[in-house]
Amino acid sequence: MTDVLVVAELLDGKVRKTTMSAIAFARVVAEATGGAYDVLIAGDDATAAAADVDGYGARTRLACQVPGGYVCEKIAATVARVARERGHGVVVATASAFGKDLIPRVAAKLGAAVASDVLAVEADGGRLRYRRAMFAGNVFAWCVPTTPVHAVSVRQTEFEAAAPSGGTSPLHTVEPEPDPAAARVRFVSLEAARRERPELTEADIVVSGGRSLKSAEAFRTVLEPLADVLGAAVGASRAAVDAGYVPNDLQVGQTGKVVAPKLYVAVGISGAIQHLAGMKGSKTIVAINKDREAPIAQVADYFWVADLFTAVPQLTEEIRKIRSQS
């Protein structure tokens, strides 16, 4: 029997949807081992935000008020104490920038092995085994921690967001645990990206652009209209972000986000291994590229060899036509 502690991710006083993937993971472990899971909500307005995870089958919801913006050092000690006191065998968060930051520090407090960016979990006679990707997604590895407690981050695209299961989970308040390291770090500000479009990691369709777009202007005038008719999120290659065409939070790849939408349209992206690592789990991949030999062809289902500046507006128009018919 393994009990799991899910650490919720907060944004603007609400629980982020990323958290539902960690809950989905916790359900798998609980079901396979006969354990239970609790959800810890730590941060600004934690008590109010805790309402967002009620009805998801947790044994308890634990709210810890921690004022100020997120800083790992302000919550890691609380996470570790709760896990220790309540005997959790696994602490999990989703492998967003939040989970990647928090989990190793919590692991160090608990003497726990870290399984990062986990794709799947299997229980084998009560013993947990985690499948992870290595080498930019080119190798799968099955990892078995040898420590009593495991600290895990899970890949959002591999654990479909948990749906509410009804009922209510009792809400308890927990006191924050002081940490000397927290006195040496201060949250200054958050420059939040505000977008009308769906979030990259949650969108059914993603339209991504590369350096061939040549300007921020082209992202707006060529790529975004296509994303608009498709109701898609916009992504970008590292080269396009480095060149300053779009902000960093749109990057897809080994740095940036891993996405697995129903449809991924790669526009003017050659397909470096680091980019493929972030999108090759997509169901259908379309490439629009002048270069027929571009490595993106290794993963593309459909490849239109064309100049993007003429092809993308044509595609946008064609989709607009069928959308207006239906």
Binding site: L11, G69, S96, A97, F98, K100, D101, I103, P104, A107, A108, A113, V114, S116, D117, R132, A133, M134, F135, A136, G137, N138, V139, F140, A141, W142, V144, P145, T146, T147, A181, R184, V185, L190, E191, A193, R238, A239, V241, D242, N248, D249, Q254, L263, I273, L276, K283, T284, V286, A287, Q298, V299, D301, Y302, F303, W304, V305, Q314, E318, I322
Partner: protein, 279 residues
């Protein structure tokens, strides 16, 4: 300012799709792939150099100690960093396959306690194991504050305090750290003005690049005389017990089907609707 940077050798990241797995699944085979510095560690070295130099005059202002944990050949990787401008190297001999994030963090802890740097800079992850856990574990072991996934770093007091920016899913967060601290860097730390040290003029911009700097001929010559200390996990008294056992490796299933070339927007849309059924 003294900066300690860890630097791992990995199988050529641009050919990671050529990595193979032993038929019995017991290990990853990267034979035939050139060993290269982990790209994110390369960026960490570049950030360390920018923190400890006058970018305009090229004058060195501090000390960089480069640590690599791995086989004897890792000395070459250290030598590359010394040629770029780092002052000193430490090679900790270890079998690559016995390293996990805990073993690496325990090793760095011993060296940090001995070297007492103002800052430990690491890549945000290694591109082979992709665990990304060393920075957080090390910071906690030391009781130091940290910043992971860092895209900007600035010090105005010679490394006593740092203002850093972190790349989040939803934007960029700015933190202020009282050193000594552990910082892990992402690609964006290479941006022309991402590193500020209060000595390099604020209007100075480094050239746009997607890698760390190349060593000059002068740097390569100078590196030959720079010291590399050789030690081992055992000599440092590091507990080399890994916390994870890898039971099996396998290649992921290939994407099914062949690429189909299309000729027009109409054909593409029609195929997406009727074949792929995604529109």
């Amino acid at each position: 300012m003294k900066v300690l940077v860890s630097f791992k050798r990995v199988a050529d990241p641009d050919n990671a799709n050529k990595v193979k797995v032993a038929p019995d699944g017991s290990r990853v085979l990267a034979e035939g792939l050139e060993a290269k510095p982990n790209p994110f560690d390369d960026y960490a070295i570049e950030a360390a150099l920018r923190l400890t130099e006058n970018g305009k005059s090229g004058e060195r202002l501090g000390e960089i100690v480069v640590v690599s944990i791995g086989p004897k050949e890792a000395a070459q990787t250290i030598r590359q960093a010394l040629a770029m401008g780092a002052e000193r190297g430490i090679l900790v001999l270890a079998d690559d396959e016995q390293l996990d994030a805990w073993v690496v963090a325990r090793t760095l802890r011993v060296l940090v306690e001995r070297e007492r740097p103002d800052l430990v800079l690491l890549g945000k992850a290694t591109v082979d194991g992709e665990s990304g856990a060393v920075g957080g574990i090390l910071a906690e072991m030391l009781g130091w504050p940290m910043s992971t996934l860092t895209c900007r770093i600035e010090t105005r007091d010679g490394g006593k305090t740092f203002t850093v920016a972190r790349e989040l899913d939803t934007g960029v967060a700015t933190l202020h750290l009282e050193g000594p601290a552990v910082v892990t860097v992402s690609d964006r730390i290479l941006a022309p003005t991402a590193v500020r040290n209060g000595v390099t003029p604020d209007d100075f911009a480094y050239p746009q690049s997607d890698t760390g700097r190349y060593a000059s001929l002068k740097g390569i010559m100078a590196a030959k005389k720079k010291p590399i200390e050789e030690t081992s996990l055992q000599a440092l008294g590091v507990d080399a017990t890994p916390t994870c056992r890898y039971e099996r490796f396998a290649l992921p299933p290939a994407r099914s089907g062949q690429v189909r070339f299309v000729e027009s927007a109409a054909e593409l849309v029609q195929r997406l609707r009727t074949e792929a059924k995604v529109l």
